[in-house]
């Protein structure tokens, strides 16, 4: 990540406890502007708690936080206007109509993008007269996204934004994220379980596990760290395969598939030569990458 620009979000040794439960344990991170950051983790791993610290809903018990260079508890209205937030609960003012709700939120922002609003109302197929209470969860979520995006924030926090969206709406939503990020120095932090979608847009990965931040790296680095080897040989292959850092291996006669960590080009070439085999190196999808990182953490690697 670009470390020269001033970080949009910076945590140093952040901890948070709820009674005896440790929700965040000495989390340190620094997010530079201009990235789409994927925040991944199992249920209860601390993702939402982390995001709530970013916007100032939770205040740090231990450690330090800074959002847009300011303590989240002291965010000024000007700084708040630079942050967009779609909460996991996604609760809106259900007694209003869609039009009324948009007008209500618009009143708070000087830099509201009216053109974007009109476009999204049409694209998301929102009915202005419909009451928010009568909207389906998916449409409700689209409205929440519209409300967070139209102020054109510098930092957009999305906590499970795509959970209620159908595939078409998810596609539109991802396109929208790509469009938003075109503006220089904008940052999007997206927490989601739908990893197949997230991997299309993110360029940085944060992985949480039981309150710890176990991975903070670029998506490209994570993809380089793990590799899937598809092997075809002239003679039967040994089981297990002789690779260091092997995470899984399936050998079937002269064919094999393996997932290895930090395999070098030399090791692959050497294997090809010694076993008269052809090795195809493939990248892993985000879902597999996440699984192997968490498994590695559980094994204490």
């Amino acid at each position: 990540m670009n470390t020269h620009a001033q970080p949009v979000v910076e945590f140093r040794g952040l901890s948070k406890r709820f009674g005896s439960t440790v929700a965040l344990d000495r989390v340190s991170l620094s997010l530079a502007p201009g990235h789409i950051v994927g925040l991944l983790g199992a249920n209860g791993s601390g993702k939402t708690t982390l995001l709530r610290h970013v916007v100032g809903l939770y205040l740090a018990q231990d450690g330090e936080c800074a959002t847009l260079g300011c303590s989240p508890g002291d965010l000024t209205p000007e700084l708040m206007a630079r942050i967009g937030y779609v909460a996991q609960e996604g609760e809106l003012l259900e007694w209003m109509s869609v039009r009324q709700h948009i007008a209500y939120v618009r009143a708070y922002y000087a830099g509201w993008n009216q053109e974007l609003e009109e476009r999204l109302v049409a694209e998301f197929e929102l009915t202005p007269k419909a009451r928010v209470a009568s909207l389906s969860p998916g449409v409700w979520q689209r409205l929440a996204i519209l409300l967070a995006v139209c102020p054109e924030p510098d930092l957009l926090i999305l906590d499970e934004p795509a959970a209620g969206l159908d595939p078409i709406a998810r596609g539109q939503f991802l396109d929208l994220l790509m469009e938003i990020i075109q503006t220089p120095d904008r940052t999007i932090v997206i927490s989601s379980h739908i990893l197949g979608d997230v991997e299309k847009v993110i360029d940085h990965v944060l992985i949480m596990h039981e309150g710890h931040l176990i991975r903070d790296c670029s998506f490209a680095d994570l993809q380089e760290e793990f590799a899937q080897l598809v092997i075809t040989a002239a003679a039967p292959l040994p089981d297990p395969l002789p690779f260091a850092g092997m995470l899984s291996c399936k050998v079937s006669g002269r064919e094999a598939e393996a997932v290895v960590r930090q395999v070098s080009e030399d090791a692959v070439r050497s294997f090809e030569a010694s076993h008269q085999a052809k090795v195809e190196v493939r990248g892993l999808g985000l879902e597999d990458l996440y699984r192997y990182v968490v498994k590695g953490e559980q094994r204490g690697e």
Binding site: T48, V55, E89, E91, W95, Y104, Y108
Partner: protein, 449 residues
């Protein structure tokens, strides 16, 4: 200004507030027509309106998106002050000026009343913002209203304001400043953001109250997301587990998990405790007919005891659903009648021990309730049960039906006071038949969800 205007629009955008305006307007009309200018009515009324509208502000604050709206925190005090000043001005005019034309030298008094009214509204708004439930507080506000029957325009409060105008104004200003400071605190909005709250009419919806209590239980002492409820989850699991066997066992488990199993002992104790307090008050009402209100309330509370709808958990057909509804309504009616009978028996048991009190120089003895009043819940419970089943989820509509029903229920026993026992005993059967008819249509013909 734009932000404040956007927030003031809630006043007409929230349809549930129209019920409040209806109540407020009718109170003012009654006050003007009755030429009653008792200030004791005015202040609790404004406190109550502040409570309700303050709870609306709390609801907006509980939505996570609102936490990051720039300058949103500053809106709450400004909105409360403006609304309070407006409501207090209208109320002061209706209560204080219109009933009896006021001499010009009393303009200072009107100003002090207006200021105190605004302060009361703002204090109510603070309470509404801070407290999770407002309607129990509104219930307690009923007491000053009831007490005001004994006070006139020259009542203690009014006299105090007349005699100490400056002090009253100073007190009001102090209250306004404190409320302004309290409503404008960022920590208050942070506290509510993302928390589940009950909206204005949700407090009358058993299902939403249940959800809210589950959430409260789960989140006691923490702000973590919902993970399920301790006491209710096992009850639900039992309901599902026992949905397999046919016959008596199914009905027993369904009924048990619907309102016996999932209602805590504290719920029953609360009902009985409140009933006992009312029993003591109503025993001295001097007119046995007024005590009917106690049993009308009991019928209402019995319906509120239902916590979870086990029928939605059980994999059963429509006929079984109807049979379950019949079993439930019969048992619930029996339970409310039993509780009423218990209170009546208690009133007879304590009557010899209760000393007479003196009111306006005359002794008022404690009067036990007539046993025939145990029939009131048997008339109202089936009707309320059917009504709630019919309009489940439309609390506003239920309230609109229930409020006149409540008034009718208060008047009917008085009208029937001298009637024969045959009429008294016929009414529960008529009510039950009507209820079963509605439930039959609801369970067998209507869309269930």
């Amino acid at each position: 200004m734009r932000i404040l205007a956007a927030n003031l629009k809630h006043l007409y955008q929230r349809r549930s507030l129209w019920l409040v305006y209806l109540f407020l307007t009718s109170s003012m009309v009654v006050s003007v027509l009755a030429a009653s200018s008792s200030l004791v009515y005015l202040f609790p009324l404004l406190l109550g309106v502040g409570l309700v509208l303050g709870s609306c502000q709390r609801e907006v604050a509980s939505r996570p998106f609102s936490f990051l709206l720039p300058r949103h925190t500053g809106v709450a005090p400004r909105q409360a002050l403006l609304q309070g000043a407006l409501f207090a001005a209208v109320a002061s005019l209706c209560w204080f000026v219109l009933p009896q034309p006021m001499p010009s030298q009393h303009l200072g008094l009107l100003g002090a009343v207006w200021l105190l009214g605004t302060a009361c509204y703002m204090a109510g708004a603070v309470l509404g913002f801070v407290l999770p439930l407002v309607f129990p507080i509104l219930g307690w506000l009923f007491l000053p209203f009831a007490a005001s029957r004994r006070l006139t325009t020259q009542g203690v409060l009014c006299l105090a304001i007349r005699e100490r105008l400056g002090l009253a104004a100073l007190l009001a200003l102090g209250m306004i400043v404190w409320s302004w400071w309290r409503l404008g605190r960022r920590s208050l909005t942070r506290r509510w953001s993302g928390r589940r709250t009950l909206s204005l009419l949700d407090e009358f919806s058993p299902a939403k109250r249940t959800q809210y209590r589950q959430w409260r239980k789960t989140n006691k002492g923490s702000r973590q997301p919902e993970r399920g409820s301790g006491p209710v989850a096992p009850s639900c699991i039992k309901g599902i587990r026992h949905s397999r066997p046919e016959g008596v066992l199914l009905y027993w488990h369904a009924v048990r998990s619907e309102w016996l199993g999932a209602t805590t002992g504290r719920g029953y104790l609360n009902a009985l405790g409140i009933g006992t307090v009312f029993l003591l008050v109503m025993g001295y009402s001097g007119d046995g007919r007024r005590s009917a209100v106690l049993f009308v309330m009991l019928a209402n509370m019995a319906n509120g005891l239902r916590r979870i709808h086990a029928t939605t958990l059980l994999s059963i057909g429509r006929r079984q659903r109807y049979a379950l509804a019949v079993v439930s309504v019969l048992l619930l009616t029996a339970l409310s009648a039993g509780m009423a009978y218990l209170l009546i028996a208690l009133s007879h048991a304590v009557a010899p021990l209760m000393p007479p009190i003196t009111r306006r120089g005359a002794p008022v003895p404690f009067q036990p309730f007539p046993y025939v009043y145990a029939l009131i819940p048997t008339v109202l419970t089936p009707l309320a049960f059917a009504g709630l089943a019919w309009r489940k989820g439309r609390t506003g509509v239920v309230m609109l039906i229930w409020m006149p029903l409540f008034v009718v229920a208060l008047l009917v026993p008085q009208a029937l006071w001298g009637m024969s026992l045959a009429v008294w005993f016929a009414l529960p059967f008529v009510s039950m038949l009507a209820s079963l008819g509605v439930l039959r249509y609801h369970c067998l013909r209507r869309d269930i969800v």
